[in-house]
Symmetry: C2
Subunit: 348 residues, 2 copies
């Protein structure tokens, strides 16, 4: 006899990218930042440890919300903090989706959206990207059972981004809230924060994992209109962000100079990686994120993934149904990218 809900038993569960612990691999597979975070983050966490950890953290992470509001140009009550942006995607899904409701997202995109919908008992309405990574009218088609749409922007694995005006039009046309997942936006030219004030349906999620080099800390936030934040807050665990991550995230947001410098470095290496992958014949896609999507028009790429792994370089091999397969390579340091390219060249 099983006690579990049938949708839980039937689902496969989300499989995250490989996370070997230790330093055995050059990790270019889960879009981590190759550099260490701002020293101010480490200092802030160290200070909090010395203050002690026996007390509960601030349930609303007020210090972070004040500082992030200053950076983004919004009041703190437009911000909800989470244990990574996955926590906020989970909260939004639980807020809007009943069993049997429809959830819409694009393919190929972040695989977690399907998992979150399935846990909730929702049905997935998957809209294929067009060959140029734009979204056609199917993404905004009317549907009375549609309760939530997710849009990764920039998208993974493509690294492409829709312009804010396009996102605004999508949000206007949709009958339901639109989560604009901006996990990678700090590496892009534009963002959609300004759309939130224009349309209550727009909820923007951000992560400190990539651009602030804090994947290990688990901190993200959501920007929405205050009446939306108020309802979403009911769903979060009371103390979903710990004292160390609140301290570290606040210090990270406070050090925008570090971010600016890191962005420039990652973008420069991204350009080098892009040029070299093109030289190797990959049909690489110009990226607004800290990774590049690399299908190949003639060569099978899955064996390349295995050869790289044997030599100590982890990239992500992805094969999307009704689409194509390819290697998604995170933008590491110049040295890491050179090592990857050298191995690829030898393997091809």
């Amino acid at each position: 006899m099983s006690f579990f809900r049938s949708n839980i038993e039937q689902m496969g569960g989300y499989v995250p990218g490989e996370q070997p612990q230790g330093d055995k691999f050059i990790k270019l597979n889960t879009n981590e930042n190759p550099y260490s975070c701002s020293p101010k983050v480490k200092a802030a966490i160290g200070h909090m440890i010395q203050r002690g950890l026996q007390k509960y953290p601030d349930p609303l992470a007020t210090a972070f919300r004040i500082r992030a509001g200053e950076v983004l140009g919004c009041d703190p009550d437009w911000i909800l903090c989470g244990n990574g942006s996955d926590d906020l995607l989970t909260i939004a899904t639980r807020a809007f989706v009943e069993p049997g409701d429809r959830v819409r997202f694009a393919n190929p995109s972040y695989v977690l959206y399907r998992t979150l919908a399935e846990i909730q008992g929702g049905q997935c309405d998957v809209v294929s990207y067009q060959p140029d990574w734009s979204l056609g009218p199917a993404f905004t088609a009317g549907d009375a059972r549609l309760k939530l749409a997710y849009l990764a922007n920039p998208n993974s694995p493509s690294g492409t981004a829709l312009a804010p005006q396009q996102v605004a039009e999508i949000a206007d046309a949709l009958p339901c809230p639109l989560v604009v997942d901006e996990a990678y936006v700090d590496f892009a030219d534009n963002h959609c924060i300004s759309l939130v004030a224009e349309n209550e349906k727009v909820l923007v999620t951000r992560s400190l994992s990539k651009s602030y080099a804090l994947a290990g800390l688990r901190f993200g936030f959501l920007v929405g209109q205050p009446h939306m934040i108020e309802q979403l807050s009911k769903i979060k665990d009371s103390y979903n962000c710990d004292a160390l991550s609140i301290a570290g995230a606040t210090a990270a947001m406070d050090d925008q100079a570090w971010l600016t410098q890191n962005q420039a470095t990652i973008r420069a290496t991204r350009q080098r990686l892009f040029a070299q992958m093109q030289e190797l014949g990959f049909a690489s896609v110009a990226s607004q994120a800290n990774f590049i999507w690399n299908p190949h028009p003639t060569i099978a790429v899955e064996p390349l993934y295995h050869k790289l792994k044997e030599s100590g370089v982890l990239v992500r091999y992805m094969n999307y149904p009704n689409w194509e397969d390819g290697l998604r390579i995170s933008v590491g340091t110049d040295e890491q990218i050179d090592a990857c390219i050298t191995l690829l060249r030898a393997a091809m």
Copy 2:
């Protein structure tokens, strides 16, 4: 127009105990440990900071599960880690409860159980404790729609605990899984871990917040049979525990000598607090936890809460429907308890 599920809009949301930041108050209101955690925990976190936070943490917190398994006498695959035990209570609720299903818990108990059931769209079947804080046959009554039961053991606010044999009988009689919430069990004489191997329906949750003085770190775990853990794992966020909390929690579990000494200190102060509250005429309940429940047979206690707060001492005033009200006072240091007692004596 609202986009939210109607049960979300209708619910009030869980209100945690007051968490004033800074050191303005003597906090005896949310059952925090008054002592600083093991120095080995601080060292382990400090070491992890220096290693860097740019990489994702181990999704399964393997290091912790190995160490905790050694302490508890079970294999690591019997353990699921969470972002505080609230995360695990949330996961269990999402695993078993569909909208319209019934969830059973006792009253008075941890108020979060109702919130979790309501978020999921479940219906609450609340069974009153008997005057001696035992549970009658209503708690195990058959009900085809009953999908989950929670039992806080030791219970809050009473601090009382059912014997493991009683819990075993409840689990056997119930038609659904029973979450035995052992957040306070390290201050008690017995625990229910051994029941897990005997009955797949028993899921024991633990927290490092109280007994390891790590409320600020957010780390808890659940012990269940491996096939139960496997299904529950599908629901957790991939990286629900951050790298610092995994490192700190593992070091905490590794320092059982610290725990043993802290337990002895808290129990001794608990005995002093109990005796002094009885002297003041409270009908205090003998406690197996790190707090004491104090109703008063003749005096209104809510004004006492306010007077204490005005003088810088926070305790928890609780008023349960169809029950009684009282002051729940956490076991602080001897000095904190003396300050509280002195103020109470003056106010009565």
